[in-house]
Amino acid sequence: MLSLPQLAQKSLLYRKEVLRRVRQAGAGHTGGSLSCVDILNVLYNRILRITPASRLDPARDRYIQSKGHSVEALFVVLADRGFFAATELDALGQYRSHFVGHPTRQVPGVEQNTGALGHGLPLAVGTAIAGKLDDASYRVFTLLGDGELAEGSNWEGALAGAHYKLDNLTVIIDCNTLQISGRTRDVMNHEPLAEKWSAFGWAVRNVNGHDFNELISALEQPLEPGRPSVVIARTVKGKGVSFMEDVGRWHHGVPSDDEYARAFAELDAALAELEGGAA
């Protein structure tokens, strides 16, 4: 289990690896991967009871990434956790590789094939109902994008999660406020978000999605017995690289040589600062 400083360092390394993999593959959803990587870091290094050895154990916790396009972040974290060798990611996007641009179960550690939006929550509801039927203690997590919330199937799943009192289910919303064609509030406004989920019968927690303390506190236990939990993580798209932060064009985009060097310089400086602070 990583300490808070270790988590901070890990996130910087993950960000570098996400950029490296996007650049190497020549494609990728850079901004959204950077906005959710702290969430994935906390999940896989502090919250989820799952290891490469237990990845098929019926008692394992489940994580379903509904915003499948942020697959680079997921692959980088899974590789770091030992679900497969990091070198396998050299094949990302290549002919006959199972590392495609959205999660597939061919990759060890991936629970469901996602990528079309609005699918993760219903899958997670079914998985959580199975846990209740079996009196199992596992928890089910799913990560949604905020733009994704326009898909109606999420709200079908939200009704069912509350109806079946699935307190073993946690939705995390990577609320980075940007989607492919602009600000989510301009494309299709979903605010007030907390009130909506609350009205649907969910226990709601707003957090800073880049604050490890807040994320851990919101995720380490279900928020309330008898209700499913939703953690609204306020995030910044492209987080960690100044010129990518909150800039729509980085929804998907491959950094140029110059951009790549500048991004790495920033992330390396942040790493050095962390080490300096720790020393």
Binding site: Q112, N113, G118, P122, L123, G126, T127, A128, G157, A160
Partner: protein, 331 residues
């Protein structure tokens, strides 16, 4: 909904069925409901998921007997299929039951991704399929489901022709390691001659060398009556093959029928685009087998209005219509 449904069988068809010694059975829907209940009684991991469809799925007794094994999601087919896939991923044997029209259209993406692509072996049960809902109109018809699901990898399609095929199909699907789509209607059907073949293989119900009727689902009985009628009225000996498994097709049985008979007529309660007939026609062409060939089904037009019986009669899916199509091919 109190008036009895108009009969699917003309007086002449009923007389032919009587001469064949056929007995009227129940609706496949009822055979399904009984079978799934007995499977679920024997195994608490067998679940039914419904979208406000327990009444139309004849699952009231299931819900009363095994309330913990039925999951209701309300009128929400996308959630129905997603939840079913999640349950199946945890090792449950899941029957997701909804009218075929909604299940395979509204939730098509969930079938494609959450069930088939993710390889969660859900049994999708399309009830009141084809034009079972008759006069309720096109919103309630499923004439696209074979075509849509034939274009999806990793799902089998089974349309049983009678109660025995339904029982076999339900048991097969429950044990299958891949997703299966079962599709049937709600009208009572004659029980067909029993076949020892597994449900995934063709059932040859009647042999002959003139015309081969290759039929699926609830058109099979009409093909059998047409064959009997053609023999009695014209001395033609026709073959009748029930292809419950639309995908995968029993290739050997289809090729044998086309090679051994003078003509082939396919029959399905589905639009002719992309259904059984096109699957058979493509198979024959790819194997270089030429035969006189026609497809009976619903054409690409606004479907005629009326009861299921009216629609079958209008498009030549009854005994008389199928016999006429066969006769025309032999001219």
């Amino acid at each position: 909904m109190s008036a009895p449904a108009p009969s699917m069988y003309s007086p002449a068809a009923k007389a032919t069925a009587e001469k064949l010694g056929l007995k009227m059975g129940r609706a496949n829907l009822e055979a399904f409901a009984d079978t799934v209940l007995s499977l679920a009684r024997a195994d608490r991991n067998v679940l039914v998921v419904t979208s406000d469809s327990r009444g139309s799925g004849k699952l009231g007794p299931f819900g009363q007997s095994l309330p913990k094994q039925i999951v209701e999601v309300g009128i929400a087919e996308q959630n129905l299929v997603g939840v079913a896939a999640g349950l199946a991923s945890c090792g449950k044997t899941v029957f997701a039951v909804s009218p075929a029209c909604f299940l395979t259209a509204r939730a098509f993406e969930q079938i494609k991704n959450d069930v088939a692509y993710s390889d969660n072996p859900v049994v999708l049960v399309g009830i009141s399929a084809g034009v079972s809902y008759g006069a309720l109109g096109t919103t309630h018809h499923s004439l696209h489901d074979f075509a849509a699901l034939r274009a999806v990898n990793n799902i089998e399609i089974i349309a049983p022709a009678d109660n025995a095929e339904t029982v076999a199909a339900v048991r097969y699907a429950a044990a299958a390691r891949c997703p299966v789509y079962l599709r049937f209607g709600k009208s009572p059907l004659y029980d067909l001659p029993a076949s020892p073949a597994p449900i995934t293989q063709a059932h040859v119900l009647r042999d002959g060398r003139e015309v081969a009727f290759l039929a699926t689902g609830e058109t099979v009985i009409h093909a059998l009556l047409a064959a009997a009628h053609l023999e009695e009225s014209a001395g033609l000996k026709c073959r009748v093959v029930s292809l419950a498994s639309v995908k995968p097709l029993d290739v050997a049985a289809v090729l044998a029928a086309a090679r051994e008979c003078l003509a082939v007529v396919t029959a399905e309660e589905h639009m002719v685009n992309g259904g059984l007939g096109e699957a058979v026609g493509t198979l024959l062409a790819r194997h270089g087998v030429t035969a006189r060939f026609d497809l009976a089904g619903i054409p690409d037009e606004y479907t005629v209005t009326g009861s299921q019986a009216d629609i079958f009669r209008h498009y030549g899916l009854t005994m008389e219509g199928l016999a006429a199509t066969a006769t025309a091919l032999l001219r």
